[in-house]
């Protein structure tokens, strides 16, 4: 089974937008997710947008992979989460990770906040 993580780099103005195209970030996908994020967190970007609008499900292992990846590079405070569906945003709130990562309804709103 393919558990690779489909991630695409985009840009809004000067802000890098990392778009996750996979629908699920669960324990099976977490290692690939961590690997896919590595080039971005190691590039030394001051901040970037992580677009999760295509993600329908994330579990605590997937969230842990995000935290782990970002601790290795760019500070989590510099990462804005864009377009999280209610079920995805709910996990950030349940775990209080919404106090670490700023959540925005859209990629443009997130990019504006980071650029400003």
């Amino acid at each position: 089974m393919n558990t690779g993580m489909d991630i695409v780099e985009d840009r809004i103005g000067s802000v890098v937008v990392v778009r996750v195209k996979s629908s699920r970030i669960d324990a099976a996908a977490a290692p690939a997710f961590r690997l896919a994020l590595a080039p971005f967190v190691k590039r030394g970007l001051p901040h970037f947008v992580l677009d999760l609008s295509a993600v329908g499900f994330i579990d605590s292992t997937g969230l842990g992979a995000l935290v782990s990846s970002l601790k290795a590079g760019t500070t989590p405070a510099g990462v804005a989460i864009a377009g999280a569906k209610d079920s995805v945003a709910a996990l950030f709130k349940l775990t209080r990770m919404d106090k670490v990562f700023r959540l925005f309804p859209s990629d443009s709103a997130a990019a504006s906040a980071l650029a400003g």
């Binding site: 669960d26 605590s60 292992t61 842990g64 079920s87 709910a90 209080r96």
Partner: protein
């Protein structure tokens, strides 16, 4: 509400968990739960099944994890069972979502959140290990 029951069994591989999660979510929607509630039930089941695979079976793929879902009297009752290593009782009793300082990046939690999340999403959670079978039961009022 009429009593309805679903039972599913997977081999203990993480790549199988999405199959279970999707079936649980669809079943919840089929009995009238809204998207948000169905998503919360899926999350709770996935967290428990992940624990079975990672801790009870220690990521070996020759075990089985069974999930039964029963709906009756406006109550959803889900049982997750395995025949792996039993969980010490204090693990569930003390499970919480970790507290942390959001500004202290180096010490942000990366794991240990699963059962704490389950306890937040369900009204009752209990665990029994008898005769080599471990059963975690979750109850949620509808």
């Amino acid at each position: 509400m009429d009593e309805r029951r679903l039972q599913l069994t997977i081999e203990s591989r993480l790549t199988n968990v999405a199959l279970l999660g999707g079936a649980i979510r669809s079943s919840c929607l089929a009995v009238g739960m809204d998207e948000s509630a169905a998503g919360e039930v899926e999350l709770a089941v996935v967290e428990v099944v992940n624990n079975c695979i990672e801790h009870a079976y220690r990521k070996t793929d020759d075990g089985q994890v069974s999930v039964s879902l029963e709906i009756s009297d406006h109550t959803l009752r889900i049982k997750v069972s395995d025949r792996g290593r039993a969980m010490p009782p204090e693990v569930l009793a003390t499970a919480t979502v970790p507290t942390f300082d959001p500004g202290d990046t180096a010490h942000l939690p990366e794991g240990g959140m699963g059962l704490g999340i389950v306890k937040q999403l369900m009204q009752d959670v209990h665990y029994e290990s008898t005769g080599g079978t471990n059963v975690l039961t979750m109850v949620r009022r509808l």
